[in-house]
Symmetry: C2
Subunit: 227 residues, 2 copies
């Protein structure tokens, strides 16, 4: 609040070179993670970014922090996809698009699936508030799609997590096989339709949406895009 010795005019409080390096690191991390997985040595990322390891660690103290920041964009799209799904007048279409969008992300950005799996069941998620909103939104989406008679009545919100995690696993196992991924998504969607219900399903998982990749500060509050 009171005057700091050296004020920075830039918007994020970082010096110009620091901001530049941060960006370089993120670009490098995306490439390295795509090529070698999210367990790739930190030094590899640093070298690729053209910075020293110390700089890397200064910006991202842990690998986890780097992974999250690297896939923040994907994470944000996930959050918006949920909001968009909820906004769709056709609840089934909204539901379908949500699944397709997230799966498309998973197959597009190699490394993201591993990050998704790594972060998903993790309890160290940033804001409980965001999680709650995501769970609530998803619940609403499911209820609406069921009320419309499109989504089978015994579908549980946790089934979406099941679908996403299994799709992640497939993409991790076969990073190049887009056809396999699309095939799985198509099958899953068909089995979720109300008219595909044949007999009772086994007990649902107790898995919640804890850790569903969402931006740490909400998906819409602060987008650094236009204004």
């Amino acid at each position: 609040m009171v005057g700091n010795s050296s004020r920075i005019t830039e918007r994020d409080g970082l010096r110009a070179d620091a901001r530049r390096n941060r960006e370089r690191i993120l670009v490098a991390a995306r490439a390295v993670f795509a090529e070698h997985g999210i367990d790739a040595p930190m030094a590899t990322v640093a070298r690729r970014a053209g910075v020293g390891v110390a700089t890397l660690y200064r910006h991202f103290p842990t690998r986890d922090a780097l992974v999250r920041a690297t896939f923040a964009e994907q994470t944000e799209i996930c959050g918006r996809a949920l909001t968009d799904a909820l906004a769709d007048p056709d609840p089934w279409r909204g539901f379908r698009r949500l699944l397709e969008t997230v799966c498309e992300l998973q197959r597009q950005e190699r490394g993201f699936p591993a990050a998704f799996v790594a972060v998903f069941p993790d309890s160290a998620v940033d804001h409980a508030r965001v999680r709650e909103r995501a769970e609530r939104d998803l619940m609403t989406l499911v209820r609406r799609a069921q009320a419309a008679g499109a989504l089978r009545a015994d579908f549980q919100p946790s089934d979406l997590a099941v679908a996403l995690l299994s799709h992640c696993g497939l993409v991790n196992a076969l990073p190049h096989d887009r056809a396999a991924s699309r095939r799985l998504v198509a099958y899953l969607l068909q089995s979720f339709r109300a008219d595909a219900a044949h007999g009772a399903l086994p007990e649902p998982s107790t898995l919640s949406l804890r850790g569903f990749p969402l931006p740490a500060d909400g998906s819409r509050e602060q987008r650094p895009s236009g204004a």
Copy 2:
């Protein structure tokens, strides 16, 4: 053929202590892989087995060899499941049981899913002959189930690989959540039914059964059980 200096009376040409240690190592490996994943340090396995690392490496020169040997039993069950499925008079039931059996294996023996994924798309599979037989058998199974009107006509043999790999991914991500696993299997099976077909599926994957876990020497030729 002609007299060796020190002949061993035992059946597998190993000395008694060597055979004992080999067994101990396999037991230890199963436990360690279940607990720490198939990337667990070799020394951990050796310690748990009560042998030196050198002994471990003597029996299994590479981690891959150890992993394969450790899950040879599961692998064999996979092979038999395919044979059994083919033998079932009801082709759909055979098909269903095949998927359920393999998935049950995957969720039972922790570590097996990872091994499954690690070995599956790998080209270093033992006998091309076995692979070919598996592919042929699976093709037959699929054709029959389709002819019976139970399995949807656009199902491809590669879709079974898709199902198994995605299920593996799920079990890897949530090793404790059996409900999630069962749920996925139920959904997949329903979506494979002929009466679940709604609209066209995307292009099938070109993935073959290369590496489908099968015993190296065929599943039935030599079972050291009774005679």
